[in-house]
Structures are given as C-alpha cells and as structure tokens.
Amino acid sequence: MRPLDDRQVRHLQDVADLPDLTGTRYEMTGRLARGGMGTVYAVRDTVLGREVALKVLSAPDPEGALAARLAEEARHLARLQHPNIVPVHDAGRLPDGRAFYVMTLVRGERLDAWRAAGRSLSAMLRLFQRVCGAVAFAHARGVIHRDLKPENIMVGPFGEALVMDWGVAKRVQQSERDAEAATLDLSAGEPDGTLPGAIVGTPSYMAPEQARGDTASIGPRTDVYALGAILYFLICGRPPFDGPDPRAILRRVAEQTPPPPRPDGGGRGSRALTSIALKAMARDPAARYASAQEMSDDIERFLDGRPTEAHREGLAERTLRVLEKNRALVMLLAAYLLMRVMVLALAGF
C-alpha cells in the first residue's frame, strides 16, 4: 500500500469525522467549528430549503455518556425559547449512530471579534444587557450555562446577541431555585462521566467555586460571575485572569480578587461601571448580584446616569454625575449666567 502523506491524513481525519447524512433531510455544506465533544457543520435542510447548523458528536462515546450530554444540551435549548438564545430545531441520531441536533445557523461574529472592530461603550453595554436577559431567562427556567465567555456569544449582522454552546449547562432543582439555594441536581451523576469536584468551564471566565471544583456551590451566581468577567472584557479587552497556563489561571481565579479593569483606550474609566463588574465577580457568591437581571438593571442605572447599586459615590462624584447627566441644562444655565454677567458688565460702563 502506498504510504499516506500528511495531506491525506488530514483529509482522512475529516472523512472519519464527517457525519453520515444519507437518508436524512440534510445535505452537507461545510464544517463550521470543531470542539472537544462535537463538530458543528453547516448543512442544508432540503425540506424547508434553508441552511442550518448541525452539531454532531465526534468524540468516541463507548458508554453513550456524551450522546446523553448532547441530547441534554438540545433539550436545554428547546426549553429556552428566547430571542437571544440560539433555537434548536431537531435532534436525534444520524444513520451512523451518532447523536446530533440542529440549530439555527448564526451568521455574525463572536463577541470578542465584534468588540475588536471598535464599539462605543453604550453599544457594548446595550448588547451586554441582552446577554444578561438571556441568562436571566435561562435561570428562571432552571438552567445554568456554566461556560459563559465572549467566544460563546455571537453578534448577528443586526446587532442581535445570541448565547451559544450550552454543552455544559446544568438544570437546577425547582425547589432549590425557589429557595435560591444555588445547588445543582447531581442525583443522576454528571452525564460526561465526571464526578462531583470535576472542573467544568473556561478558566479565564470561571467563578472561584468552579475553579475549586466545588460543584455543590455552583448556581445562578456562578453565571453572574462569568457575566462580570465578560463585562470586564468589554471594558478593557482582556479577561480578569489571563495567561498561557490554564492551571495557573485556575489557581489565581480560586485565590485572588481580580484587579480593577482599565479601559484599553487609556484613562481610569468609570468607577461605577468598574464596580458593577467587580461586584458581579465577588469571590463570595452571596456578595454578587442575586441575578443576571439585577446586574442588567444596575447597568441600566449607569447608562441613565443614575446612582448604581454597586458603587457608593462621594459628594464630588455625585455632583459630577448629576452635571454629566444634565449636561445640556448645565450648559444652558452657564450660557445664561455668562450673558447676565456680560449684560451687567456693559450696564456698568
């Protein structure tokens, strides 16, 4: 047999990973992304005549645990019908036996790429509020994302935000939600085979309780922490903890309080906005916003020029904020006073 060259090996890797769509309503268009568990392909739904995204399990799954996790992800998405959460349309097994689900094909760019194109602070905060709204909606339905980060948020061509990749999301018990106990239902064990204590998420955006592997403490406020880290990223263009070594990041997340974000354009930035990010990222979950909606409300106050919950301002700060909020009135008043002074001065002559 003729030996395989490197290009052939790469092609065969793709071939071995390709889903078998024979006999289904889908036709392959191309590969969009590969992850540890699954690969996402653009496919054409021949019945409805539209392009959709098909996520298929690519990692081996001898015990069916990953298939269960993918199916659970699809069920989470099906429960979460919200304008800022990618909708799921179909799920099941392909002719090759692999688990899959089909979702809307999102055209756009990831939040990190969207931000890099240069956006105004107010545009970023309005978009961020929509993300908070989606997360709050998921929490209200008992679903915790657990891996919120800029890479998992897509911004569409019309500025719509879509929260993606609910692959490690978890359902919270109804009674616990009511009690805001922030405890996960682990009675059935982790579907990916990991045990309580295993670390799930992305280190740079991970809450301290996640970094410690303390699964019993993970709840809605864990997502609030990640939202704080995303806000931090929007302010300064980098996550609160960063570096080449994921283990070192995990240690810092577990042990340190993040430094205040400095806007990447220079200057100190707004202390009120910084405080919102830092409150969301409090090491003690009880000191964070109780919900993503509360965080969004505080950002609304900031955008309206009202005092925020996160930041206790001094007299000088309050004066400056009031002046800033009423800039037009202040300018008018100043112009009037200046005119009066000039009139008086002229009358004196």
Partner: protein, 244 residues
C-alpha cells in the same frame, strides 16, 4: 436503526491489557497488535530522533519489541498517568539510551530479522518526506503513530470490503478519499458511471465506506488503548479535534 453504541467500537479487548495476560497466546496476540500499530513510528523515531542508520534502526526496532515482550516493558503502564503512546515512547528512549542493552543487541547478532516488518518501504517514506525540525521530533512520533493507525484502518477496510463483496464501495472510497486531496476530485456521477452507479448510489456507497472506515479506525485505536478515558483522548487527537 443503529444500536445504542452507534458507530463506536463495542469491543472491550485491549492489547495493552493483553500484554499482562497469563495466557501466552493472548500475550502474543496483544504484542502483535501493538507491533502492527507502533513499529513504523518506532522505526522512524530511531532513524530520525536518534540518528541511527537504516540497518541499526532496523535491528533496534526488532530488539525493542522483542525485549518488551521478554522483559514486560509495558507491565508498569498506568492509564491514569499517561497515554500509552507517550509511555511507549518513553520506554523506547530509555531502551535506546541504555548502552548495555545496545551491547547485548550486538552479542545477540544484530541484523537478524525476527519480526516480518517491511523496513525498506518505511525507509522510502523517510527519504521522500521533508526532514522534520529536530525541535518537533516528539510530535513527529505522534504524527507517525496517527498515520500508522490510518493505514491499519484502510487495510482493515480493504479486507472487510473484499470479504463482503463491497468492491465498488472500496473503489469509490479509494478514488475519492485516498487520492490527492489537492487534486481535482471527480463528481459523484463521473465516479459512478464506470461502475454503473447513479450519483445517489455513489453517495450511499461512499457514506457506507466512510462509516466503516471510521468504525475500523476507532476499533483499531480501541484495541491499543487501556481505558475508556485514554481511548477518548486518543480519538480526539486522532480525529484532529484535540491537541496531542
């Protein structure tokens, strides 16, 4: 309908585990599977990483596997601590670094081929390939290991298609997936015409061949890993979804 396990191998047989068996036949079968998967990367590693000449690398490859069998090199392997391929490469480097063992190899009369391995063909591959960067030679071993598994899976697919009378499936797979990836691929209609198949039939045949190829590839991998966790990790690497 596909079964619950789907395309993933259901066999639990592991050659790595088999090397520890008390049954000599099982041990022999296990070592044969490991030699089939590893001899090419081992030979290339000795040639390129250790700079041995063709004859020396040939003898050392033979010697390494024979001594592994005699001295149970792989017995201490613990899948919780490392992947088997990493462990094997460490064993190999230790073996090669040991000058006493090399001396004993000479005493045994190096140059005698004991395992039926086609070293000349692999030497041709080394000569035809670009010289790897010395800094990446460990990754080169991993890449060669992956190449070796793909070749084993293709050979298994050939055997299976021939045994089941699926020669058209095999021909389509070879033409479409083993050709030059950068070259122009024929359309499904063009490929089907000489075989009397429609484009839709070609789609079905090719999908079946690819499905079998994936199954055989993962089955081969499964047989040379020791645990489900190692199997999952190695499959991600093999399929290009994970770094080594």
């Amino acid at each position: 309908m596909p079964d619950k396990a789907g395309p993933f191998p259901t066999t639990r047989w592991s050659a790595v585990e088999g090397t520890r068996s008390a049954d000599p036949a099982e041990r022999e079968r296990s070592y044969a599977a490991l030699v089939a998967a590893y001899w090419k990367p081992v030979f290339k590693h000795i040639r390129l990483r250790w700079g041995k000449d063709f004859a020396g690398a040939q003898d050392l490859t033979q010697e390494f596997f024979l001594r592994a069998m005699e001295k149970d090199f792989f017995a201490p392997y613990d899948p919780a601590r490392a992947r088997f391929r990493t462990f094997l490469r460490t064993c190999l480097d230790g073996f090669l670094a040991n000058e006493d063992k090399a001396a004993r190899r000479l005493k045994r009369g190096g140059g005698v081929t004991i395992l039926p391995l086609e070293f000349e063909a692999v030497e041709g591959e080394i000569a035809a390939a670009a010289v790897p960067d010395p800094a990446t030679l460990d990754r080169h071993f991993d890449a060669e290991w992956a190449r070796s598994l793909f070749e084993l899976a293709i050979a298994a697919l050939r055997r299976e298609c021939e045994a089941n009378g699926r020669l058209a499936h095999l021909q389509l797979f070879e033409r479409f997936d083993l050709g030059d990836p950068a070259g122009d691929r024929p359309s499904y209609a063009e490929m089907g015409a000489p075989l009397g198949l429609t484009a839709a039939q070609v789609t079905g045949h090719l999908a079946l061949a690819r499905r079998e190829f994936r199954r055989l590839l993962l089955e081969t991998l499964r047989s040379i890993t020791a645990s489900d966790e190692e199997f999952r990790k190695e499959a991600r690497f093999l399929l290009g979804t994970d770094p080594p």
